[in-house]
């Protein structure tokens, strides 16, 4: 039986954010100190599970921190399991990369949590700076400001605030960028030059029509700038 009344079709896009993102840890003590004691993220759920499943699986603890908005950051601790790979190589508790792998690549995989304003960003900066995991960078990006550190497992954590709401034309721009990216990466030797050339074609094809579908956008834009 449908719970929707006739005429109240559900939208195509139905997901509601992050239920949980999960990572392994080999140091639950430090992980709890970092997330619960330093950042003050409540522990909201845990599972104590005996090994199960068709393959060799160790006993484990799965535990969850509240990261706001009902979303959760989760960890697995596996009894008797040791870190894999060369522990002197760049990487984190999940994996080690080859020696010489640049930092930008290692840090490309990270989690970013949102705060509402500068006061809250600086409050998290204060908490981290007073801990053994101080802020490593504070960066003003295009439309966000972020602080960064690495948690005890080597995972990069970003905390960020939006400097302004996202403008509607930025959604169009993102769609054109990604269309161009898909086009150029389907061909030979993708490059920024090729992407910007393809994107200009898409701008000519689609941008004027986009504006025509946004009544009042030009006037609102004038007030913004």
């Amino acid at each position: 039986m449908s719970r929707n009344s006739p005429g109240q079709a559900k939208p195509v896009h139905r997901v509601r954010g992050v239920d949980h993102a999960a990572f392994p840890t080999f140091d639950p003590n430090a992980t709890v100190r970092f997330y619960r004691d330093v950042l003050k993220f409540p522990i909201v759920h845990s599972i104590c599970a005996a090994g199960w499943g068709p393959e060799r699986h160790p006993d484990f603890i799965h535990f969850f921190f509240d990261i706001g908005n009902g979303d959760r950051l989760a960890f697995f601790y596996y009894f008797g399991w040791s870190p894999q790979g060369d522990q002197t190589a760049p990487g984190d508790a999940w994996a080690r990369l080859p020696h010489g792998t640049p930092e930008f690549f290692k840090n490309s995989r990270h989690i970013a949590l949102n705060v509402g304003d500068e006061e809250d960003l600086l409050e998290y900066r204060r908490r981290l700076d007073e801990s053994q995991w101080p802020v490593e960078m504070q960066v003003m990006h295009e439309t966000i400001e972020s602080i960064y550190t690495h948690d005890p497992n080597g995972y990069m954590l970003e905390i960020t605030r939006q400097l302004r709401p996202v403008a509607p034309q930025e959604d169009l721009d993102a769609q054109l960028t990604i269309a161009a990216l898909c086009d150029v990466t389907a061909g030979e030797a993708p490059s920024m030059d090729k992407l910007l050339t393809r994107k200009a074609e898409l701008i000519v094809e689609r941008a004027a029509a986009w504006e025509a579908e946004q009544p009042g956008w030009r006037e609102a834009q004038r007030e913004l700038i």
Partner: protein, 81 residues
């Protein structure tokens, strides 16, 4: 003829202001983008724009028959391909 596009958002206004003050550049709108064209190479002085690092290096939205020949801490230069 060099031709580039810049998205009209507050962060890019410094680039657009500098381009607007350059008599050699022509600006017109294509939807929410500003198209900058010129008979000579397009040169934007970075310091004049007041753009911070992240904004400066992400200001170019598109290139039409053109190529970026300089994009560093000093200037952005776009020439005909």
């Amino acid at each position: 003829m060099p031709c580039m596009y810049v998205l009209e958002v507050p962060e890019n206004q410094g680039v657009l202001d500098v381009a607007e003050q350059d008599a050699g550049l022509a600006l017109d709108y294509v939807g929410p983008y500003v198209r900058i064209t010129s008979a000579a190479p397009i040169v934007i002085d970075r310091r004049a724009t007041g753009c911070r690092h992240a904004v400066w290096y992400s200001a170019v939205a598109g290139l039409e028959n053109s190529v970026v020949t300089q994009h560093d801490k000093d200037a952005l230069r776009v020439e005909a391909r």
